[in-house]
């Protein structure tokens, strides 16, 4: 279709605004993490760093508890990933491949769980975790992160199950394979990208969670990155260099992982919303 010049101008304007709004903040923070302290707090705009230093990264990794937070975040994210993959794959198979009374209704209920405001759960969740003796235990974070990652992961799997022909399973069943064998030997290998995608999604969800981590973990040695970094912000004198380096280091893995699964992720979102 032909586009009028007006469309092209509008497009350029919108793209320029998006660049300003998204790319410039990222540039400013990442560039800031390499500037000398005096340049970071300069009162004029210095677009290109005049000084390049790695001191903030050195401080962060050698003198701050950042490596501990990083390890804790990795443990929680790995646990969340594993549990989400198992629970969501099984459920996706049940929802998309088997028929049972109440299936549609239960499926919709899990969708609701995704949008459920977690803040309404923090008070009782604290009580529940303390009843289970899981306060100040990373396991409590894994449990709660799966709750908010799994429903969306089930949506994401839908796209993958749809691309696999049902005949394949029927043939295997005629040959005497059980349902679980069909799932693990035939469906999962074919849906491997989907499994990877929901694994990464769960990882990222867990990586960014702040609210529950801020109340369920008490000791500094068990803090995850979001809470740990927030603690550094709250200190008496803000050390911007340290924070900008921390923000950059926390963002890199998320961006790398997301460029890997971006399109699957978007496909899952579309499947859920457009249905």
């Amino acid at each position: 279709m032909k586009r009028s010049p007006g469309t092209a101008i509008a497009r350029t304007l919108v793209l320029a605004m998006l660049t300003l709004f998204i790319v410039v903040p990222f540039y400013w923070v990442v560039a800031g993490s390499f500037r000398a302290p005096a340049e970071i707090i300069a009162r004029e705009v210095i677009w290109f760093p005049q000084s390049v230093t790695f001191e903030h990264y050195e401080n962060l990794l050698r003198q701050s508890p950042f490596p501990t937070y990083l390890l804790n975040s990795l443990i929680v994210a790995a646990g969340t990933m594993l549990a989400t993959v198992v629970v969501s794959t099984l459920a996706a198979y049940g929802f998309y491949r088997l028929r049972f009374p109440g299936r549609e209704w239960l499926f919709r209920a899990t969708l609701l769980a995704y949008a459920f405001p977690g803040v309404l759960l923090i008070v009782p969740m604290y009580g529940m975790m303390s009843g289970l003796g899981l306060i100040d235990n990373l396991l409590s974070l894994i449990i709660i992160n799966v709750t908010f990652a799994a429903p969306f992961a089930v949506w994401m799997m839908k796209v993958f199950f749809q691309t696999i022909p049902k005949e394949l399973e029927e043939v295997a069943e005629l040959d005497g394979a059980t349902r679980l064998q069909v799932l693990t030997r035939i469906l999962l290998p074919l849906a491997a990208p989907g499994v990877a995608a929901i694994g990464i999604f769960a990882f990222v969800m867990s990586w960014t969670e702040y609210m529950f981590a801020s109340i369920l973990i008490l000791s500094d040695g068990l803090r995850t990155l979001p809470v740990g970094l927030a603690g550094i912000i709250g200190q008496y004198q803000i050390d911007w260099g340290l924070l900008l380096a921390g923000a950059t280091l926390v963002t890199v893995p998320v961006v790398v992982l997301f460029t890997l699964i971006g399109r699957y992720f978007i496909a899952g979102m579309t499947a859920g919303a457009v249905k």
Partner: protein, 321 residues
Amino acid sequence: MSVTSSPEPGTAADRATRRPRAWPAGLDSRRRREAALGYLFIAPLVLWLVATILWPLAASVHLSLLDVRLIGTQGSFIGLDNYIRVLTDDRFWAAIGRSGIWILGNAVLQTVLAFSAALVLAQLFPGVRVARTLVILSWIVPTVVAVIFWRFLLNASGGGLINPLLIELGLTDDPVGFFSSGGSAMTSLIVINSWRWFPFITVILLAALLRVPSDLYEAAAIDGATAVQRFRYITVPMLQPTLFVVGLIGTLLSFNVFDIIWLITAGGPSSDTTTAPVMIYETAFKRFRLSIAAAMSVVTALILVAFALVFIRFAQPKEMG
């Protein structure tokens, strides 16, 4: 869903005509086995959600009828006292009102941002793939990183970006304290939250836009429809089901935002940015009034349910439902 069969086998007459077909008994037992397997496969997820959402919700109702203050202490039954206190507390209603402003401000700003971004990204031009990936950037960074970004960019005490820019452009002489007055703190927070969340809406809108058959636009263009008319009479109606879902889920997700507000203003200055989530968190974990916070959660949940029902009643497109 790809399979549209109703869960029940159908009417009695339906069943009667179906019975005499091939393998009458075998089909039934096969169906029953499939159903049993279905429940088995979804059981871990369903039980997980029941244990971590439904059960805590029930516990919340119980807790709201007690007088527990400090975490870990026992309380005695006091009936609906907490509810009376919450419902007659002006500060609670003020927080609900701020949540309303918060949701509205975010909805307007994010709709504008996401629509303009999605309409542009739905076109084909050099670099569109890169642009489609870049737009997700601000959504996938952890909240705490978004907080560091914006506290730094809007910093008023040396450094940052916005203040030096404003001063260089001659728009102000002294650094602006974006979080020092109630109105500008709320506005800044809405901008920051929209920065983080509009990519989510953009991606959903983009996916829906790409599904609109392009011959519709071509036919309209041949008939002489302007760009605005095409948007109004083709795009908007075709997007209606998506907009409905986004409106509902987006509202709930934006209501739920707690960390951005807490980590930037902690509800201040003088509770001007204390939305309902911030108040619940503060009441439970800073002021140690656990039962009151539970009662607030229950009341807030009921308000959200009421909102959802009204929204579904009036905004659901006819063909859904």
